[in-house]
Subunit: 333 residues, 2 copies
């Protein structure tokens, strides 16, 4: 393997225009620096570790790089922020090769370009396992006292609940891969949802601009993430199972029942779930990024999420998301 | 071990006033958010991995937490920035206990308080090895076009070179520990330099305010880090071995020759090395944080650092710092 500084030069070269060369201090000094104006800075950090967050048999390094960027940008999207810069700390495991690095960086760069963010700096070290930590910075330009931010704590009884896209598609893609069915016709969109998810940046900004004040990205599953909103906002949330926008390919490949469970319990789609006035939510729906009403915020059962089945009974999905500190296996439905 | 959310609650509680509870969006949402004004944002990220950056037999988890914060704050100090917020991603290895976590967080919090930074958010995951990545965020308030930033690329022939404190003290502390001499009288300050290093925040800000434009923190050793300045600035650097401010305890414990080699090749002191006009550098010297002139910037041998010994010959220290991607062992002299 190359030395630290040769690796950094190689990474910066391969990032191309995904590296922020025009900063006051671009990548390569003790820290990066850029000008700020009056407004709000939004910042988040996420760590992905091989074996915990991905396995080399279900995901190529290009997909890992793509996903690492998407996961962080998604946290900014879920605040209504405009993503700007990433700082990337890479830990290279013993078996990690320069070819692996090139593939990872290519995936990083592609996701950066799609999401309109650039790499401002980083760190690279050796360790017993390959891992990648990304800190993402974004901004909200505002002069108003009521910051146009999307919070977990701002759901109010009477709000409607909406979700973008087709939650569960990523988990369905992983299920297809694990069942050895990745070569089947008709599952391509599920594989793409798993390997190349897209963060809902434009939707988050449009929602915040339209006056919506509560959203989250679906990273641990709809039930669990809506549970965070219910707890933080001290409200109850009720969903109608029949209204959940299942991916047609997930229904075809796995059946309606499994597709429903994956929509409720499967994470990593990076869709946004939002609460607010019905008209404001409906106005966010576009052909490119569908936004579907799936439930209501209620004053009853604060902190709890209830899913009503078509039979009029409360439906309990088999699994409510995934806790990264309890389970050392790959995320799975 | 507790679940993810119980761990996060525990960490936030134990951070106390080292967590930034007064942000627009404090720790606990998708991302943190704070107000910005006109000026410059400065940001950096560093990863520390058990086995690569520390060993449990030479450093307690409280020291690891302290050092992780210091290393990041030091990168902001080396830019002349005012440190503000940290984002912390922790990977917990299989043997890591709640007691270990409490100790690590206590060290983080102590270093945060000393350096005037606060934790704005984080992430916690499980993995095959304990690791900690910190992104640090600071600011420089300026309305001028010539940003008061300390860069690697701004050394000019004719500048003097100065260093704060006593570089090599941290490496001397590690050498004492590894030799089984940590209980000896007289080595206490070396142990402290290794386990509880302090970033030179006030010095960095004072230097930038006084018009100095070139500095770096000594994280990989004086020779290697001055080499970065020499390359980035396309200048040569010449040091006088006799002028290096060796720590008296390092000389006493290890001898003058070893202390000199550690001053040139030992990293992790987080001292600042600066270049600029003689008078401006001398004016930075204080009883609390001594600043010592150690050499000159020259037009000759661009990219190279030469150390002149007392015998008038160029001195080649046995080791020029440490490359994190080549060597999987602990940093050592």
């Amino acid at each position: 393997m190359l030395g630290e500084f040769a690796l950094i030069d190689r990474i910066i070269a391969r990032l191309g225009d995904a590296a922020a060369h025009d900063l006051i201090v671009p990548p390569g000094d003790d820290a990066a620096a850029w000008r700020t104006g009056p407004g709000i800075a939004v910042a988040t950090i996420d760590a992905l570790v091989e074996g915990t967050h991905w396995r080399t048999d279900t995901m190529a390094y290009g997909d890992v790089g793509w996903r690492a960027v998407t996961a962080n940008v998604s946290d900014l999207a879920a605040m209504g922020a405009e993503p700007q810069y990433l700082l990337i700390a890479m830990t290279l495991g013993p078996a990690f090769t320069v070819d692996d690095l090139d593939a990872l960086v290519e995936g990083l760069a592609e996701s950066c370009r799609l999401h309109g963010v650039r790499v401002a700096g980083g760190d690279i070290v050796r360790g017993p396992a390959t891992a990648i930590s990304i800190a993402a910075y974004g901004k909200i330009e505002t002069g108003t006292a009521d910051a146009p931010l999307l919070r977990r704590s701002r759901a109010r009884a009477g709000d409607f609940v909406a979700v973008s896209g087709t939650p569960g598609a990523s988990a369905a893609g992983l299920a297809v891969i694990e069942a050895g069915r990745a070569a089947e016709v008709g599952v391509e969109m599920l594989l793409l949802a798993h390997r190349r998810p897209v963060a809902r940046v434009a939707l988050g900004r449009a929602a915040a601009a339209s006056g919506i004040r509560c959203a989250m990205d679906v990273s641990d599953g709809l039930m669990q993430d809506l549970g965070h909103i219910a707890v933080a906002s001290e409200v109850g949330i009720e969903l109608a199972a029949a209204s959940l926008p299942l991916h047609p390919a997930a229904v075809d490949a796995l059946g309606a029942s499994a597709a429903l469970d994956l929509a409720l319990g499967g994470g990593e789609d990076f869709e946004l779930v939002l609460t607010g006035p019905r008209a404001a939510l409906v106005a966010l729906d576009t052909p490119e990024v569908p936004v579907t009403l799936i439930g209501r915020v209620v004053a009853e059962h604060p902190g709890e999420v209830i899913v009503w089945g078509e039979d009029g009974e409360a439906y309990e999905p088999p699994r409510r998301g995934w806790d990264q500190t309890r389970d050392s296996g790959e995320r799975r439905p």
